[in-house]
């Protein structure tokens, strides 16, 4: 299945359709597998190949070392597979319409297909190393797709930034892998790695007995490193800076990679790790903290941003924060459930936004307005997505977000520090509702665009509308899947070790009520300020201006990173280059000069006057005498015989 997507598509006309066809086939398979797993857990035989093999030798691997590659289908991966293939197919379909003006389409489809393949591989990996391989491949596809419009300097720059920031996370991740690797090399089952390598077992048994986790400092560090990797991919604070800039890529890419699938891989990684390996309590706290803080932090930046795609991008970061938080709280499957719903409604939002951009040719919200009438489908889709995002029942977001909040709530007792992050997450609910509807009102309400120069808007072709409709449907009902027993089974993940919180599905009414209330309040505020084409202008002397500036400048973090990257590191590098050229190489030249001047001086003694030569001879004679009668006896007396 994986190999099919690598096909480099040459012909523009049918290339896109070919890719869509393969994506569709993949979706069919993915859905089949997911349903199969739902109905009959463990139905799929997992294949395994040796990738790198080291024979038994003394040293750290008394039984040798095997690194293997293989596939594993378990509830976790089945759910993720479903998301990847379905959203992937829909986005691919949408692209046919959205992208048809662009050059380099074969490249686009090839890269997108490769991305899907990699993502599928990632999901189906049966060990961390293979996981990492696909993880990096996904990252590269993301790099290429962000930089798709490579002639735009901003796109090239954003691609670079995305690669480098996620690279930091990758490095941490890799180190985490090493630690697990060696931890289990000595304590894992079968006494070593020879037998089955570092393989996730088939869903039912955690790799390590649950009780073994908790105290080891090394494991805590490993967990934190994994968290670092996930933070890089899932754009969690402080590695979140790349994701808004990644919006330089085509909107379809943003929808697929930077909303629905790849960025979710970090969450998936955390989930996989928590299920198969487990985190220590410190790790859990750290994960919750990062997730909760990011959820709020990203939401604040979305509040003021004028760019429609970036608002959604910040929203993605924020929602990913929720997922991370859920995993940290010990309910990986809840996080994954939110991932599942989020994938649909966020892809929906992006595609809707893409539809808008396609229609008006700008991403600036303040230029839009009154698009509701010419673009009814889009407006409705965006609204559904927004409601889902804001967590208004019965839309998908409500169910999953509510689960997360109650999951965290259930863990509040385990550590007092959970409280502030829980509250931040709650606050973010309000902000989320506010900013997404701010965007909706700005774009769709009113009578006409604020910028009259915008072209007359109209809906896109059917290939763009169909995915919108399907995704709208999914955003509406995906949350309700939770009531399907088989789907529940999927979420329960076998023995329920990391399954669903005790309050799942029923109503912790107070919690839900507050959350829905906050959501509605946010929508209300948005309407108050921006509804019906109104534009709220913050008074120039308002004390909030400085906050607004801070938010618009993204807390100056990008500036700081640029400074570190450009000034500090590049400065060091220039300094090092200088040292290399003039000090190290200079030393070499110094030898050259020393010998050169020595040579000149000695040659000056070659005066051409034979008397001088005779004097050298006699001086030599005297020197020989001195050697024989003075130096040599001295040496012999002090350093012994020959």
């Amino acid at each position: 299945m994986v190999g099919l997507f690598g096909t480099r598509l040459q012909k523009l006309e049918w290339g896109g359709w070919l890719a869509v066809g393969f994506a569709g086939a993949a979706m069919a398979l993915g859905v089949t597998i997911a349903i199969g797993e739902m109905l009959n857990p463990g139905a799929y035989v997992n294949a395994q190949y040796t990738w790198l093999h080291l024979a038994a030798s003394p040293g750290p691997f008394p039984n040798g070392l095997s690194l293997v590659a293989g596939t594993l289908v378990d509830p976790l991966s089945a759910l993720m597979l479903l998301v990847v293939t379905v959203v992937g197919f829909l986005v691919m379909l949408y692209s046919i319409g959205y992208m048809h003006h662009d050059r380099g389409l074969p490249r686009y489809y090839a890269e997108l297909s490769l991305f899907l393949a990699a993502m599928t591989g990632l999901v189906l990996s049966n060990n961390l190393l293979e996981f990492f391989l696909f993880w990096e491949l996904v990252g590269v596809c993301s790099y290429f797709l962000i930089g798709f419009y490579y002639e735009k300097p901003s796109a090239a720059s954003a691609a670079k930034e995305a690669f480098l920031v996620t690279r930091v996370g990758d490095v941490l991740f890799l180190l985490g892998i090493f630690i697990y690797f060696f931890h289990y090399a000595t304590t894992g089952p079968n006494g070593g790695w020879a037998a089955n390598g570092f393989v996730f077992t088939n869903g039912t048994t955690p790799f390590l007995p649950a009780g073994a986790i908790g105290s080891s400092t090394l494991l805590t560090i490993a967990g934190l490193l994994i968290l670092g990797g996930a933070a890089g991919k899932s754009a969690q604070f402080p590695l979140h800076v790349w994701l808004p800039d990644a919006m330089e890529g085509p909107t379809t890419v943003s929808a697929l990679i930077h909303a629905a699938t790849m960025v979710a891989a970090g969450v998936y990684l955390l989930a996989v790790t928590s299920v198969f390996i487990g985190f220590t309590s410190t790790d859990q706290l750290a994960i919750v903290a990062i997730g909760g803080f990011t959820a709020f932090f990203a939401a604040t930046m979305a509040v003021v941003h004028p760019d429609i795609k970036r608002v959604i991008a910040y929203s993605t970061i924020s929602q990913l924060g929720y997922m991370v938080m859920a995993v940290g709280a010990g309910f990986a499957m809840v996080g994954l459930f939110h991932l599942f719903t989020h994938a649909f409604f966020k892809a929906l939002l992006f595609l809707a936004a893409g539809s808008v951009i396609h229609a008006v040719g700008t991403q600036d919200l303040f230029k839009m307005g009154g698009l509701r009438k010419p673009m009814r489908v889009t407006a409705a889709a965006f609204a559904i997505g927004g409601l889902a995002l804001a967590g208004i029942p019965p839309f998908a977001g409500f169910w999953s977000k509510d689960d997360i909040l109650s999951a965290v709530y259930s863990q509040l007792g385990s550590h007092p520090l959970y409280w502030p992050f829980f509250l931040l997450a709650f606050a973010a609910v309000f902000l989320t509702a506010y900013y997404i509807f701010r965007a909706w009102f700005l774009a769709f309400s009113g009578d006409h665009p604020r910028d009259p120069s915008l072209p007359h808007a109209h809906e896109g072709p059917w290939v763009m509308q169909v995915p919108l409709v399907i995704l709208s449907g999914m955003a509406l009902i995906a949350g309700l899947f939770i009531f399907l027993p088989n789907f529940q089974g999927l979420l329960l993940h076998g023995d329920g070790v990391a399954g669903i919180p005790p309050v799942y599905g029923s109503t912790d009414l107070l919690l839900s009520g507050v959350s829905v209330g906050l959501g509605l309040a946010g929508i209300g505020l948005a309407y108050q300020l921006w509804g019906n084409g109104r534009v709220y202008v913050l008074p120039a002397d308002s004390p909030w201006q400085s906050v607004r500036r801070l938010l618009l400048n993204r807390y100056y973090m990008k500036v700081a990173y640029d400074w570190i990257g450009l000034r500090a590191v590049y400065g060091i590098s220039r300094g090092a280059d200088f040292v290399d050229r003039y000090v190290i190489d200079g030393t070499v030249h110094g030898f050259e000069r020393i010998f050169g001047s020595l040579s000149d001086r000695l040659r000056a003694m070659q005066s051409g006057v034979v008397s001088d030569y005779a004097a050298y001879v006699i001086a030599g004679l005297v020197g020989v005498f001195a050697l024989l009668l003075l130096v040599a006896p001295y040496l012999l007396a002090h350093f012994g015989g020959t």
Partner: protein, 490 residues
């Protein structure tokens, strides 16, 4: 038994002579010789009987041959050759690079007979180093490589080629000389009965720890300059920048490997006690090389210089892996040498093509070349991504293994190479951003995409990079068919 290794050497030797004599048909001769050589290497790979293992504590070799050469009683020198997995994989690398270089420089106009002849001669020297199992023979080939490379740099090189050629020659020669002292002392102080590897290997344990350490250091100086390690690296940027593309390819792809190979074969295996003593020094130097190579790369504007410094970084990782002294580390080192051989060669080819397509290698003065030369751009991307350790490309399994071994041996010190990986990624990505992407800049109107032979030359290497990136076990199985398998560690 059929003397297959001698045939291997003879093929190249005769091929070199024929190439020198064949005037304007030199490229065909060279290609023919390269194919013949590749076929022989293929035969070796196919019928490689595996590593024979130890006999009396001394490693044995496959296909070994031995003939008397200089016998003076106190001085017993033989022509002794043999292979194990380590040598074989590097010979294979030689075959790949040789054919890629010959194809890449297909249209060489300036004295083609001499050019192709010298290329083959360089390869001959490298293969000789890889198969030699006698101290003198080893040293002989080791030094013999310098001469053709000297001429390649000096005659076909860039504007400062004369200076670079002399610097290269003198610098590395000095190092070899120190190494020769070490080798001689190794033979004579240990009381080895002959210059044969096995005899030296068997006699070396009689040396005291301090002697071993000194010998190790003197050998390391020779190997380290070839590596090259910081601070003995300054011949490398000059040599690389001024060398013609084919020269850079062989220089980076093969000559640097001689250092790593020599260190493993002649120092680590032979002088374990000394190795243990100087291990901390090796670590310091390795970390310094890793960090320095990468950090300095970031500041480079010349594409070749950038790749040259990145070589220092990569070879630093090789040294680190060797210095760990574990079988995993040695495996990683050899794997990484192979990987670096392919990848850096590819990158130097791209640098060469950039240079003669756009007339400059200054990263800052060209930009947005992708639309004009998509193939070249793709090759730059493949090379860069491979070099920065992207999975599915050849460097990754090697670097992964190396880092794994580092964690195993040094725990958190692995943060240094890991952290540097980010810098490495940074300079490649930044280079690609400036050069490949963005609006076109400095693109002459006559620029067109690569001619077929350059594409083919790079294609061979890119193919190898991908093939062995996806299927690294092909190499691993080969490499572990060597004393690495029985290496007891420290």
């Amino acid at each position: 038994m059929f003397p297959v290794l001698s045939t291997l050497l003879a093929t190249l030797l005769v091929g070199t002579v024929l190439t020198f004599l064949s005037g304007k048909y030199a490229r065909w001769t060279a290609l023919l010789v390269s194919f013949a050589f590749l076929a022989e290497v293929g035969y070796l790979l196919m019928y490689f009987p595996g590593w024979p293992g130890l006999a009396g504590g001394v490693p044995q070799f496959a296909d070994s041959e031995s003939y008397a050469w200089i016998h003076l009683g106190w001085l017993q020198v033989n022509y002794t050759v043999g292979i194990d997995g380590i040598s074989l994989v590097l010979i294979f690398l030689t075959a790949i690079l040789q054919i890629a270089t010959v194809v890449y420089s297909w249209e060489e106009q300036k004295k083609p007979a001499a050019w192709f002849g010298l290329l083959l001669l360089t390869c001959l020297g490298c293969v000789g180093v890889f198969v030699a199992l006698d101290v003198l023979l080893f040293f002989l080939f080791w030094e013999a490589v310098l001469v053709p490379m000297f001429f390649i740099i000096g005659y076909w090189g860039g504007p400062r080629r004369r200076y670079a050629a002399i610097k290269f020659f003198v610098y590395t020669h000095v190092a070899s000389i120190v190494m020769l002292v070490g080798l001689l002392a190794l033979v004579f102080y240990s009381g080895a009965t002959s210059f044969d590897y096995s005899s030296v290997f068997a006699a070396a344990p009689t040396l005291g720890v301090a002697t071993q350490a000194f010998l190790f250091l003197s050998l390391f100086f020779g190997f380290g300059v070839k590596f090259p390690v910081v601070p003995f690296h300054t011949w490398l940027p000059d040599a690389h920048v001024e060398a013609p593309t084919g020269g850079s390819v062989l220089l980076a792809g093969l000559l640097l490997k001689l250092g790593g190979y020599g260190l493993i074969r002649w120092a680590v295996f032979v002088l374990p006690l000394g190795f243990h003593e100087v291990q901390p020094i090796l670590f310091v130097i390795a970390f310094a090389s890793i960090a320095w190579g990468s950090i300095v790369s970031l500041a480079q504007r010349d594409l070749k210089r950038l790749v040259a410094f990145s070589s220092i970084n990569h070879m630093g990782i090789v040294l680190l892996a060797i210095a760990l002294g574990s079988s995993l580390g040695l495996l990683a080192a050899v794997l990484l040498m192979f990987a670096h051989g392919v990848v850096s060669a590819l990158l130097f080819m791209t640098a060469g093509s950039v240079h003669h397509t756009y007339g400059t290698r200054d990263i800052a003065s060209i930009g947005g070349i992708t639309p004009t030369t998509p193939t070249l751009s793709t090759m730059v991307m493949v090379g860069s991504l491979a070099s920065l350790g992207l999975p599915w490309l050849i460097s990754f399994p090697a670097e992964f293994t190396a880092l794994l071994a580092t964690w195993d041996g040094l725990a958190y010190w692995v943060l240094i190479p890991l952290g540097i990986l980010v810098v490495t990624a940074a300079f490649y990505i930044w280079m690609m951003q400036r050069m490949l992407f963005g609006p076109p800049k400095g693109v002459p109107p006559t620029a067109h995409d690569l001619p077929w032979y350059e594409t083919a030359g790079m294609g061979i290497l890119a193919g190898a990079a991908i093939l062995f990136g996806v299927l690294p076990f092909l190499l691993v199985n080969l490499i572990t068919n060597s004393p690495i398998r029985g290496f007891a560690g420290l």
